[in-house]
């Protein structure tokens, strides 16, 4: 894992997973930057700590759950107020798989 180098195809694959459309110049730049950052991150890859339990959360007391009771939510008009392309009842999006 010590010599990670992201190829342009790998950068495009990750960008597709992240739904980021990238120009070719960005692909080239991000490839260089991510290679450099991941190179530093890899300093922890070699640590012999496989038996250490991972910390998933900062609060050792766990989640603070309230009773699961129905409460009023946002009014429809409010919820739609910031939408780029609302209808009277919902969010309009372009066709899926056009």
């Amino acid at each position: 894992m010590s010599d990670v180098e992201l190829t342009p195809d790998e950068v495009r694959h990750v960008a597709a997973l992240a739904r980021l459309g990238l120009a070719d110049a960005e692909v080239e730049r991000l490839g260089r930057e991510l290679t450099s950052i991941l190179g530093h991150v890899n300093t922890i890859a070699q640590l012999p700590i496989a038996d250490v339990p991972p910390t998933k959360h900062a609060n050792p007391h766990g989640d603070a759950l309230r009773p699961d009771e129905a409460r009023p939510g946002a009014a429809r008009a409010e919820a739609l107020a910031n939408a780029p392309d609302p209808t009277a009842e919902g969010f309009r999006v372009p066709p899926i798989g056009a």
């Binding site: 990750v14 960005e26 930057e33 991150v41 991972p54 603070a64 919820a79 939408a83 999006v93 798989g97």
Partner: protein, 484 residues
Amino acid sequence: MAIDVIGLTAERAAALLRGRECTAEELAQAYLDRIAAVDGEIHSYLHVDPERTLAAARAQDAGSGEGLAGVPIAYKDLLSTRGVPTTAGSRILEGFVPIEDADVVRWGDEAGLVSLGKTNLDEFAMGSSTEHSAYGPTRNPWDTARVPGGSSGGSAAVVAAGCAPWALGTDTGGSIRQPAAFCGLVGLMPTYGSVSRFGVVAFACSLEQVGPMTLTVRDAALLQQVIARDSGRDATCTGPREPIAVPEPGRLDGVTFGVPRAELEAGVEEGVRARFDESLAIAVSLGARLVDVELPYARHGLAAYYVIAPAEASANLSRFDGVRYGLRVDAPDVRAMYEATRDAGFGAEVKRRIMIGTYALSAGYHDAYYVQAQRVRTLIRRDFDAAFAGVDAILLPTAPTVAFPIGARLDDPLAMYANDIFTLPVNLAGIPALSVPNGLSEGLPTGLQIIGPAHAENLLLRLGAAFEAEHAFDPVPPALRSAS
């Protein structure tokens, strides 16, 4: 009366109001005048609405007038404000108007605080200089050729420039403490889970907290009293363990400080190190004992952080898809619309972090990067636990440098990230830390970071007040003093 707002603490502002020496409207107007005079150069606010501010102030003048009622405040533009634009420093949220207040903003309103506006930040709080704001950088009032730190650089600059008596920031890896240090202020990052994050635009949920940025330790305590609460709307919030007390300076007899000497060897500027060593001497002169502590995994905090925070960010920022709010770039199908919207709406640093996080969580790399980083997180927590078995608090410089010139680190992400080496491990451990002014190096402020075990805010504030009294630091930048 003419009100000189430069260097005016919130505590003193409240005393002026309670003593009827000025009205809330006069006070708000004095700050608005100050903002109009200097913020064109500093660029610390993203949104100011004088009519709204003055109306809120007049409402306080008509009310019962107790406690902090009528004292102005500024909010980092990562905090949702109902009916007031909230951008998170991003083009993708340009024009977004929240339908709810963040809990901390609502509690500010309930305490009678009067909002002066929303402050600049690195886009989605990702950065250490406020240069990653989509709306342009903020300048440091101590030297306008330098950054104010970040990501809460706008909140730091407004207070240092006399454009607000205090402000709220957020801290995910140092974003309250480092700008506080760079601008000569007090900054408190509370214990993880002690302040509700409801209504905070999410970056890395397991790391971030809201906290005060102030001129004095007492002001930090007063503002923490307002926000350290649980609302039942943040599932990670358990509230503070005890009420926050406003501290008095005093001696430090019986206090034991841990000093992680090995960590100090890693690239601390000479002037920063000299000021830090002077504070160690102050601690001893006040009766405290110093012992060496080891934090062997803290040096791996930077690498662990730059897996965990981007991983969480890549998930959190998936909600910006051009459907429910914010920017949309039209395209023939929905997937192309997502990709075009996110490419146009996010800046370079945000894209970097989304890419790192997506890569680290992707099939085949998840265990090697993300789980390994979480193991390091466990070891960093154990380091702190072991240290706190023998000491009351740990001392470190807040940042290894003073404020750096605008542009100096913008093209080198790793150099930018490295400025947070002393603050990141604290977020990974979920414990509180207070940065207090620690004197000047080359005419620029430095910060002393006091790190404590979970829920030790009252101890940190008491210790901070002791250092503050000994330093007698003047938080007003000299250029502002002579201009006023």
